[in-house]
C-alpha cells in the first residue's frame, strides 16, 4: 500500500487544458465551475432580462384586454374556441415532460449521462408547467373563478364532473406540477448547501440556509435522501406518461374528426419528449458555451440527447403517417376529408411546417457529424420546437374549424392578441429560467461528483 500519497490541498486551483472538452474535473473544481454561475450578472444577462420583461409586459397587456373586454378581442369565435390558448397549453406541457423523463426515467435506467443535464431539464419542467397552467386558467374567461375547477364542498352542493377529461386534466397537471416541483427542489438540497457555504452576504446566506434545510451531508441524511429520491423517480416515471396521455384525452374523448383516436396517448407522449429534449438542447448549448462548461456538459452528452430527439422524431413521424393511413383506410368520411384538408386546405403552411420540422429536418440527426455540431444542433432544435408548436396548432385548429357540419365551418385567422400570448408565454418561461441560472446551481454538483474517480489510497489514488 502506498502510504506516501498526499491529498491535494483544499480548494486547489482547477486544472487547465487547451481543449475545453478535455479539461479535467476534480471534486473541488466542480464546485468552482458550477457555482461560478451564481454571481452578480453582467450586462448581457441584464439586457436579456429587461427585454424579456418588456415582452412580458406587452403580453400582460393582451391578457388584460382579454379579461376586461372578453374573448372577442382575441379573434376566438365558434367553433375554433380553443385555438392558440390550448395550443400553447399543450405545447408547454409537452416541453415540461422532458425534464421528468431525463431526471426520473433515465435515473431508473441508470443512464449516467443524465447527471450533467438533468437539473436544467428539471428546471425547464417546473417553469414549463407553470407556463402551461396559465393558459387554461386564462381560457376560462373569468380566471377569478378558476377555483371552481377543484372539487370542494360548497353551499350549492354541486361537484366537478369527475368523468370529464377536462377534470382529469386538472388532477393530472396539478399532480405533475407538485411532484415535479418537489423532485426539483429536493434534488437541489445538497447543492444549495454548497452555495450556502460560499455565500458572503448575510441575506443570501440566510436564504440558502433555508433552501438547503440545514443540509450537512451526514450519512443519515444521504441514506434517506437517496431512499426518497429513488421513489420520487419511481413515482414520476409513470406520471410522465400519464399526464400527457390525459392531455391527449382532452381531444381523443371527443368525437371530432382528427381527434377521436386511440393513437393519441402514445403519439402525444412521444411528441412531448421530442419537443422537450429539443428545448433542453436549446437551453444547454448557450449555457455551456457562455460559462465555459464544455468539460461538464460534453459533446457526448449532447449527442445522446440528439439521439433521443432522433428516436422521438421517428415515433412522431410514424404517428403522422398512421393517422393518414387510418383516415384513408377507415370508414369515416369526415375523418378522411379532415386529413385531406389538413394537408391541402388553407392551413397547409401550418401542416407542412409541422411535417418538415418534425419529420424531415431531424433526419439530419442520422449523421454523427451533425449531432456533434452545436451550431447546427441549436438551429435544428429551434425548428423542432417551431414544428411541435404547429403540430398542436394543426390538431386543434384544423379539426375544430372543419367538424361534421359544413354550416359550422369557419375561416380561422390568427389575431394580434394571440401572437402576443404566444410570445408572452416564452417571455414568462425565460423570466424564470434567467433567474434560475443565476441563483441556483444549474448543474447537479452532487450527482456529477458521483461520476468522478473516487480518491483511494489503496489503488494509487484512483477509483
Amino acid at each position: 500500500m502506498s502510504q506516501t500519497l498526499t491529498p491535494p490541498a483544499p480548494r486547489a486551483a482547477a486544472p487547465v487544458h487547451d481543449d475545453p472538452e478535455k479539461r479535467p474535473i476534480t471534486q473541488a473544481s466542480l464546485n468552482d465551475d458550477v457555482l461560478k454561475l451564481i454571481s452578480p450578472p453582467g450586462k448581457i444577462w441584464w439586457a436579456a432580462f429587461i427585454f424579456d420583461l418588456a415582452v412580458l409586459a406587452v403580453a400582460l397587456g393582451a391578457v388584460r384586454n382579454l379579461i376586461v373586454h372578453g374573448w372577442g378581442v382575441s379573434g376566438f369565435f365558434r367553433p375554433v374556441m380553443w385555438a392558440v390558448d390550448i395550443t400553447n397549453f399543450v405545447f408547454w406541457v409537452g416541453i415540461a415532460h422532458c425534464g421528468t423523463l431525463v431526471s426520473a426515467v433515465l435515473f431508473l435506467f441508470r443512464s449516467h449521462f443524465r447527471r450533467a443535464v438533468y437539473r436544467v431539464a428539471e428546471a425547464m419542467t417546473v417553469f414549463g408547467v407553470l407556463t402551461a397552467a396559465m393558459f387554461p386558467a386564462i381560457h376560462t374567461g373569468r380566471p377569478w373563478f378558476d377555483y371552481w375547477l377543484f372539487p370542494y364542498p360548497n353551499q350549492r352542493g354541486i361537484w366537478t364532473n369527475v368523468r370529464s377529461p377536462l377534470e382529469w386534466d386538472v388532477f393530472a397537471v396539478n399532480t405533475y406540477l407538485t411532484v415535479s416541483s418537489i423532485f426539483f427542489l429536493v434534488g437541489l438540497i445538497p447543492d444549495v448547501a454548497a452555495v450556502r457555504d460560499r455565500a458572503k452576504h448575510p441575506l443570501m446566506k440566510f436564504i440558502y440556509t433555508l433552501l438547503s434545510f440545514g443540509w450537512t451531508g451526514a450519512n443519515y441524511q444521504w441514506k434517506h435522501f437517496y431512499g426518497a429520491y429513488l421513489f420520487f423517480a419511481a413515482l414520476a416515471t409513470p406520471l410522465v406518461f400519464s399526464v400527457h396521455s390525459v392531455v391527449s384525452w382532452d381531444f381523443a374523448m371527443a368525437q371530432v374528426p382528427g381527434w377521436h383516436s386511440t393513437l393519441f396517448a402514445p403519439y402525444f407522449v412521444a411528441g412531448a419528449i421530442f419537443s422537450g429534449v429539443a428545448m433542453v438542447i436549446n437551453l444547454l448549448i448557450p449555457i455551456r458555451k457562455a460559462f465555459k462548461l464544455e468539460h461538464i456538459v460534453t459533446l457526448d452528452h449532447m449527442e445522446k440527447l440528439a439521439k433521443l430527439v432522433l428516436l422521438t422524431s421517428t415515433m412522431v413521424g410514424y404517428s403522422y403517417l398512421t393517422e393518414f393511413f387510418m383516415a384513408w383506410f377507415g370508414p369515416n368520411k369526415a375523418e378522411a376529408d379532415l386529413f385531406w384538408f389538413r394537408a391541402t386546405g388553407y392551413l397547409w403552411p401550418a401542416f407542412w411546417t409541422m411535417f418538415s420540422c418534425n419529420v424531415i429536418f431531424p433526419l439530419l440527426l442520422w449523421f454523427k457529424g451533425f449531432r456533434r455540431n452545436m451550431t447546427a444542433m441549436f438551429i435544428l432544435c429551434l425548428f423542432v420546437n417551431v414544428g411541435m408548436w404547429f403540430e398542436r396548432f394543426v390538431i386543434i385548429v384544423t379539426s375544430l374549424n372543419r367538424a361534421f357540419n359544413p354550416a359550422n365551418w369557419f375561416h380561422y385567422t390568427i389575431s394580434i392578441t394571440e401572437i402576443a400570448l404566444i410570445v408572452g408565454s416564452f417571455a414568462w418561461f425565460f423570466m424564470f429560467f434567467l433567474v434560475f441560472v443565476r441563483v441556483l446551481p444549474a448543474f447537479s454538483i452532487a450527482e456529477i461528483k458521483e461520476t468522478l474517480p473516487v480518491p483511494r489510497r489503496g489503488n494509487g489514488g484512483h477509483r
Binding site: N31, F171, V179, G214, A228, N459
Partner: protein, 181 residues
C-alpha cells in the same frame, strides 16, 4: 435584522464533545469507520459531499424506511381518489348518455393521479422527518469542506475518551483531527 432572524431560526451550534477526523481518501475513511465501530463507537457520523459505497457498507446501515411512508401515502391517496369520485358522483347524480354513474375507467385516472400526488408528498415528508431536516440545531461540528472533497468522521465522546479515538483516526490516514473537549 437578517442576522437576528438567522440567529432565531438557526442558533449558533452548541458546545460539542467528541473528535472529528477529516479524510481525503475514501478507503481510509471506510477503514476508520470500521475500526471505530469495532471499538464500540456506534453513534459516529460521517459527512461527505457524496455517499460512498465503502462507507455505507462500513456503517452497516439498512435501507431507508422512507419507502413504507411512501407506500402508506400512496395507498391512502389512491383510496381517497376513488372515494372522492364515488362520493361526488352520488352526491350530485347526473346521468350522461345513459351510462353508469360509477364508472371505473375515469375514476381510475383520478385515483391514480391522487395516489401519485399523495405518495410524492408523503415521500417528501418522510424523507424530511427521517433525515432530520430541516436541521436547525447541528448534531455535530460542521466544516464547509464536506461539501467539496473531504470526508468527516465525527465520534461523540467524553474528553477523557478522546485520546484513543484520535489515535485510531490518525492511524487510518486522517488528514486532520480536531478534538472538541
Amino acid at each position: 435584522m437578517i442576522g437576528t432572524i438567522q440567529k432565531l431560526l438557526f442558533p449558533p451550534p452548541p458546545k460539542f464533545y467528541g473528535v472529528m477526523g477529516i479524510y481525503y481518501f475514501v478507503d481510509d475513511a471506510a477503514k476508520a469507520v470500521t475500526a471505530l465501530r469495532q471499538a464500540g463507537h456506534k453513534r459516529l457520523q460521517v459527512f461527505s459531499p457524496v455517499p460512498h459505497h465503502d462507507i455505507v457498507a462500513a456503517l452497516d446501515e439498512g435501507p431507508s424506511i422512507v419507502r413504507w411512508v411512501t407506500f402508506v401515502g400512496g395507498f391512502l391517496g389512491c383510496t381517497g381518489g376513488f372515494a372522492l369520485c364515488w362520493y361526488t358522483i352520488y352526491t350530485w347524480p347526473m346521468v350522461i348518455g345513459g351510462k353508469e354513474l360509477f364508472s371505473i375507467p375515469p375514476f381510475t385516472i383520478l385515483g391514480y393521479e391522487s395516489m401519485i400526488l399523495a405518495a410524492g408528498l408523503s415521500n417528501l415528508l418522510g424523507m424530511l422527518a427521517l433525515a432530520r431536516l430541516p436541521e436547525i440545531r447541528p448534531a455535530a461540528p460542521y466544516d464547509p469542506r464536506f461539501q467539496e472533497d473531504r470526508i468527516g468522521i465525527w465520534v461523540p465522546c467524553l474528553p477523557s475518551e478522546s485520546a484513543p479515538v484520535e489515535q485510531a483516526m490518525r492511524g487510518h490516514g486522517a488528514e486532520e483531527v480536531q478534538v472538541h473537549a
